[in-house]
């Protein structure tokens, strides 16, 4: 791409000063939280659907790539303009348009921050449940585009389960609505679900109607340590089979636990073993009953078992669990966590196997790896650490990540459970999907014949 003065003038006509071609500004939009890099030619900060539509129409006519960006917290390079062109920074479209409590839904612009939405909903007794680790900074638009979730999706589902209607700007600038505020519809293809997770390759989300949920009255936490990951997995399966659906079901493997304990021996975690954190929520009675059920299921299997009921105690446990991504760097400041191979998923029963394989990979490539994740939905996060100033460590890191991705596919899983494919995992799409990937290509070509929407992503 080369910057065209006419294009700049036309873009200025649409968004005024909210366009930049400054090299420093462009550089700031050349990456997200992944290792993918790509310089845009223009960055724009639109404020409404009409501006987005006009920009996209111009891009369509001139065949300029358009990459949409929210807060740039993505871990797969989805918001990185790998083919140059325009970056649309949607964070200025951050209005909560309507809190429609009577219909138990909200209408938001894509730049609304997840936590801000929940701050607005809390006094009304509701919440938007999908809660990625980046909920303090990520945007709802990005969550929809990548079907984000988080540890509570085991009970509440992923972002996909909450989207009722999207206002979408298509590749030629046309604006459509994909659904309605109805709870259900049996009329035609479900374009809403097609757009969710499409990573900006089929259209640009400019507004969303979202289902919300009543805030649970209380939460309780059962922390159990097991002699092996297999036993931990068994306890999880038995818990589900007993009729309890935890609001979170997290695993922390024994190697990670050791590192955490070395970092801070006083952390409120078990001394040893593979740890599962079962969170249950609901009314006081239902949560107490569910927690008792989990305790009973685990009692014959666990080495240690602890029930946390106070807010303070639960906060401490979750805080300790959250340290898992940073503990290695804190023990050795030359080590940084690099997000690659970090989001694989396998059928729940395969989690112990995946843990074992990842440990082997960690040892093979001599890279410290922390392993944790949402065992309740089969999603394992792997945190790999390197000294970023050493080139050979980068090579080993990338080789390890490649092996982790292939292992997940071999175990019948996915290369991404909740972070998306972007440009970081596109090469595995064919392998994971086989002929179904051809159908995805067909859909892409039908909706974006000139290939201007987020080119270079999803392996397309």
């Amino acid at each position: 791409m080369t910057v065209n003065a006419d294009v700049i003038d036309e873009l200025r006509e649409i968004v005024g000063k909210r366009v930049s071609v400054s090299p420093s500004e462009l550089y700031c939009y050349s990456s997200d939280a992944s290792q993918v890099r790509g310089l845009p030619d223009y960055v724009l900060r639109p404020l409404n659907t009409e501006e987005v539509s006009r920009i996209v129409r111009l891009a369509y006519e001139r065949e300029i790539p358009v990459t949409v960006r929210g807060a740039g917290t993505g871990l797969a390079g989805g918001a990185v303009p790998v083919k140059g062109g325009i970056v649309l920074d949607m964070s200025g479209m951050d209005r909560i348009v309507e809190l429609d409590i009577d219909n138990i839904q909200v209408v938001v612009e894509p730049g609304v921050i997840q936590d801000k939405l929940n701050e607005a909903l809390k006094p009304l007794g509701f919440f938007f449940p999908p809660n990625p680790g980046s909920s303090a900074m990520c945007t709802i638009g990005g969550m929809i585009a990548y079907n984000a979730s988080g540890m509570r999706c085991v009970k509440y589902g992923t972002t996909r389960n909450y989207v009722r209607d999207l206002e979408v700007v298509l590749a030629d600038g046309k604006v459509i609505h994909t659904g309605s505020r109805m709870l259900k519809s049996a009329a035609g293809y479900d374009l809403t679900q097609l757009m969710v997770g499409s990573e900006g390759t089929l259209g640009i989300i400019t507004k969303a109607s979202l289902k919300i949920a009543p805030l649970p009255k209380t939460r309780k936490l059962v922390m159990a340590a097991f002699e092996s990951a297999e036993l931990a997995g068994k306890a999880v399966v038995k818990t589900f089979s007993s009729g309890v659906v935890p609001s979170a079901c997290e695993i922390l493997d024994r190697v990670s636990l050791k590192v955490l304990k070395r970092y801070d021996p006083n952390l409120v975690l078990p001394a040893e073993g593979d740890v599962i954190l079962f969170e249950v929520d609901g009314t006081e009675n239902s949560a107490r009953e569910a927690a008792a059920q989990v305790m009973e299921v685990c009692s014959g299997l666990a080495l240690t078992l602890k029930l946390a009921e106070s807010e303070e105690e639960m906060t401490k446990i979750w805080a300790a669990r959250r340290l898992v991504g940073a503990a290695v760097s804190r023990l050795d400041p030359t080590k940084s966590r690099i997000y690659v191979g970090e989001d694989v998923g396998v059928p729940m029963k395969q989690i112990p196997k995946l843990l074992e394989k990842v440990q082997e990979i960690s040892e093979e490539f001599e890279l410290p790896a922390m392993k944790y994740g949402h065992i309740g939905d089969g999603n394992l996060h792997v945190a790999l650490f390197i000294d970023v100033l050493k080139e050979d460590e980068w090579a080993r890191l990338n080789a390890a990540a490649d092996k982790i991705h292939r292992t997940a596919i071999e175990l019948g899983g996915t290369v991404s459970s909740e972070h998306g494919v972007g440009a970081a995992r596109g090469q595995y799409m064919e392998l994971q999907w086989g002929p179904a990937f051809g159908v995805m290509r067909t859909i892409k070509n039908a909706l974006d014949p000139k290939g201007i929407l987020n080119p270079g992503k999803l392996g397309l």
């Binding site: 500004e25 939280a33 807060a71 980046s134 400041p333």
Partner: protein, 394 residues
């Protein structure tokens, strides 16, 4: 804040004291200027690559909140600095990106990777100064400070707020010295007067020829100029024979404590007052006030409890929406007030939105914060802590 993060903050600070901040101060005295720059940049290079661009800082950077471009948030600044390290030439937008950081430190507080962006930004600014890439406001600041020894270009005595007779009574030697600072000397001499009235009873002296602590120069990267001015102040401080420096300015406090050599104990006025509460004849006032934590007193040095203790000894305290580690910047620091007054004022206005209903005053303990918050307007009168103390001593 999470436990681990807190620990990391402390580790970073300790690290700086051992290998960066304190040593750089010592090197001013012992080994010369070049080593300071080189060393601090090397320390920061590791810190630059600590940033994994997760965007946590983006969600809390107060400047980004009002500017909106990625280059105006911490992650953007870290990226730009990375690009400079990798050989990209600095353009004018590099300057505006780096110069708009107030060094408030909320990014460092929240960073899960333990990076310390304000220190990186300061080191990068110093590199830019070395390369001659300097903004008009910053150049003027450097020239003024170097020529007049204060940031306002004032030519009158820093002790003009004392009468001739009072000046002649200042003891030459004392265990404690009150470092007044530019703001209190020239913009708020009534703060200086009130502070000294309290402190002199405890045997506190003043410097005969105090100059700016050098904070504005250190924050904006003029290390050579800073070094000269710091050397002068060090000589003056040594002459008094004092073991403790007391200051009422958050900027002076963090500079004297963390950038000067370890020769003196440095305490803030709130710390001193909190230590001597029982010896002060304070009366209770029928007031409710709120308190704004100055970044360089709070987040940078963890002085949170002392000013609150003093306030509670006088009247009711009703906290702001964001306090202590989560306090929002007033917009005055890091050279932003001088270089980007509009951004600075926008930040102050945002901060005033955090003031709770039903308070008589907003109290803080930094004249720069007082200035910026007062300039931002608002319905609540802004007081320095010493003014509240003076009211209670009347």
């Amino acid at each position: 804040m999470k436990n681990g993060e807190k620990k990391e903050m402390k580790q970073v600070k300790t690290g700086k004291k051992e290998s960066g901040k304190k040593e750089s101060g010592k090197k001013i005295e012992a080994q010369g200027k070049n080593q300071i720059k080189k060393q601090s940049f090397e320390v920061d290079q590791r810190s630059v690559y600590k940033c994994v661009q997760c965007g946590t800082c983006r969600s809390v950077c107060p400047v980004f909140e009002v500017v909106g471009w990625e280059s105006a948030n911490t992650r953007g600044r870290m990226l730009i600095i990375k690009s400079l390290l990798e050989g990209r030439d600095p353009d004018s937008d590099v300057l505006s990106s780096l110069a708009t950081c107030t060094t408030c430190g909320i990014c460092a507080e929240k960073c899960p990777a333990g990076a310390n962006p304000p220190k990186v930004v300061e080191a990068a600014r110093a590199e830019l100064v070395k390369q001659g890439v300097v903004g008009e406001g910053q150049a003027k600041l450097n020239a003024t400070l170097t020529k007049f020894g204060n940031s306002f270009g004032e030519t009158k005595s820093r002790l003009h707020w004392l009468s001739e007779a009072e000046r002649s009574e200042i003891p030459k030697k004392a265990d404690y010295v009150y470092f007044v600072g530019c703001f209190d000397s020239y913009r708020y001499p009534e703060f200086a007067k009130k502070t000294f009235e309290v402190l002199r009873k405890f045997g506190v002296t003043l410097l005969q020829d105090e100059r700016c602590c050098a904070s504005p120069l250190l924050r904006t990267g003029f290390l050579e100029s800073a070094e000269k001015i710091m050397e002068h102040n060090l000589e003056e401080l040594r002459k008094t024979g004092a073991h403790t420096i007391i200051t009422g300015c958050a900027g002076c406090y963090t500079t004297l404590k963390n950038d000067y050599p370890d020769e003196f104990r440095v305490i803030s006025v709130p710390e001193f007052l909190a230590e001597h509460l029982e010896e002060l004849p304070l009366k209770k006032l029928d007031l409710t006030v709120s308190y704004h934590d100055p970044c360089h007193l709070g987040r940078h040095n963890e002085i949170y409890d002392e000013p609150r203790k003093v306030i509670r000894a006088i009247c009711e305290l009703k906290e702001m929406k964001n306090i202590r580690e989560n306090s929002r910047c007033c917009g005055g620091g890091g050279g932003v007030r001088i270089g980007y007054p509009e951004i600075s004022l926008d930040l102050a206005k945002k901060r005033l939105e955090d003031v709770p209903e039903g308070v008589d005053y907003l109290v803080t303990s930094c004249p720069l914060c007082v200035r910026n918050l007062r300039d931002a307007g608002g319905d609540v009168e802004v007081l320095d802590l010493i003014e509240l103390v003076a009211l209670a001593l009347e």
